[in-house]
Amino acid sequence: MSGPKMRMRDSFLQAMKERMAAEKDIFFLTADFGSPVLDGVRKDFPDRFVNMGISEQNTVNVATGLALEGFRVVAYAIAPFITMRCLEQIRINLAILSQVRPMNVTLVGVGAGYSYEVSGPTHQALEDIALMRALPNVGVWSPADAATAAAMARQALDEPGVRYMRLDSHPLPDVGNAPTADELRRGFRLGGSRGAAAAIVSTGYMSHLAAAVRDELEAGGIPVRTVDLMNLSSPDIAALEAALSPCRAILTMEEGFIGRGGMDGLLAAQLAPRLPKAKWAHAGLAPHYSFEIGPRDELLAANGLSRSALAERVIDLINA
């Protein structure tokens, strides 16, 4: 990884703040979760910023009421809490209701995957992708860097609908160039070598690890296509198929439980049947909570998600 590091939440909030200045129908709710940039939102827009207190269920319900009356609403909290504490509120009032009554609500969860590595399993978001993906009418957006998070903030305001954005809590460098409008529409960004026989599809923090694995393999003479999957609910599957059609080995990588309906489930169900000549493997977390305290990369390595282990899995898959 290289380049300046920035927090996704800061770029997201900055983009939102800029739009709120000119557009008076944007309302910002936080479930008592803050940041220095958010202090600016609170100060500049006291009528359209509410700290809901530690109450994610009511945050989603109040967001619904505001949205039904025409506001575009952002509801901001820690990732596991804004998805799982209030799953039923999201299902009833956003997923079901938005099918009948159009609304624009963006749930923003900070702390994707092991982001909060020292806070333990309560604060880690390892099931959120699968749970949010299970809900019709709810988009699941997973930026890998600050530039993408900012672009998605603007996209969320410009498109009606309901979506969940999962943000990493750590400052990270950019994975590539800021996504273009076409890339946002398709829901993925390509990297690495065009025409490569091996590919890695990843999302969020794992796209940084995927880039490192790719660089290691390419230095060893193995070209690799990388796909940073930004949209985990409705990516352009035909475009993904076209991009990965030369591939004979595809490894998926996510910082969440695998085999439970996460990104692996999306790709296995929708993309794998279209690429019958490719061998697939899915890297992620075993269904097990981690109480170990340690740096994130050590927690990942304990799950077989170190750079070297993942590079070996790609090679094994090619040779399988």
């Binding site: 269920q57 505001l66 009356e69 009032n93």
Partner: protein
């Protein structure tokens, strides 16, 4: 915009009796409907729509000039179907098709029904969504009100108390909560399951105004609702309507399990005197 015309108590009583009979007839044809819960709220809905209390527009159900009505105890609002039909939200012929294939009138109403705002089948959501609407209306400078109807058993859900704290914090004086306090949840009396008393004191302690009234006395109920809607109290308002679950059907009244009871077509015929 209609609903401004205020009926006198005699007219309201006659209307409530008619809607109670309509509700029983719907239930006879659609026994999946929750009749006991719906019977306790007949006077509440009648007063809102005919007591000059709730601004509504059947020709444009989402008219921005309407007051918002959230029926949080959705299962207990089959008695609202004949009222919405009578007001002209949809044709009265639809009342004969409740729970039939192709009908939009289900056993639990959804916002595909003109006159309904939200999804209500799961309890405890109305106060929070209504608070969001009330906050939006205040920010937009609207003088429209948000009326939320819950049951008392529904107040076992924790999310409603988050909403009650929030509504008081933001002084949502355009929010009126009507509790159809029929003293029953599904399996028993609420007082024997998880007791809510003293409910009015709880609301006052939370920063709400609270009024208690006989929820079947249309004159007193209209007065209490009118006070809640027009008082200058600087915060949200609760009206606790003391009601009888299964009101008007003696075999249901007093039965702690009446929530899950159905009435036979013969019983309904005896209660209503047959066809309208």
């Amino acid at each position: 915009m209609s609903g401004e015309k205020k009926r006198n108590p005699d007219e309201l009583r006659a209307l409530a009796a008619k809607f109670r009979a309509d509700t029983l007839r719907i239930h006879a044809a659609a026994p999946e409907t929750r009749v006991a819960s719906s019977l306790s709220a007949v006077e509440i809905y009648t007063c809102l729509f005919y007591g000059g209390l709730l601004r509504h527009n059947p020709a444009d159900p989402r008219d921005p000039a309407r007051d918002r009505l959230i029926v949080s105890k959705g299962h207990g609002s089959i008695s609202l179907y004949p009222i919405l039909a009578d007001r002209g939200f949809f044709p009265k012929e639809e009342l004969a098709r409740v729970c039939r294939p192709g009908s939009f009138l289900g056993g639990i109403p959804d916002p595909v029904i003109p006159g309904y705002e939200t999804v209500n089948g799961s309890l405890g959501h109305g106060p929070g969504v209504g608070s969001g609407m009330a906050l939006a209306l205040k920010r937009q400078g609207s003088d429209r009100r948000v009326v939320v109807v819950t049951g008392d058993g529904e107040l076992h859900e924790g999310a409603v108390w988050e909403a009650f704290l929030f509504a008081a914090q933001h002084r949502l004086d355009n929010l009126v909560l009507i509790v159809d306090d029929n003293e029953r949840c599904m399996m028993d009396n609420t007082s024997r399951v998880v007791c809510l008393a003293p409910l009015a004191d709880k609301f006052r302690a939370f920063g709400w105004s609270a009024d208690e009234v006989d929820g079947h006395d249309v004159g007193a109920l209209c007065e209490a609702l009118g006070r809640a809607m027009s008082s200058d109290f600087p915060g949200p308002r609760a009206v606790i309507a003391h009601t009888v679950k299964g009101k008007g059907a003696p075999s249901l009244e007093g039965d702690p399990l009446c929530h899950i009871r159905t009435l036979s077509p013969a019983e309904v015929e005896e209660l209503t005197g047959g066809a309208p």
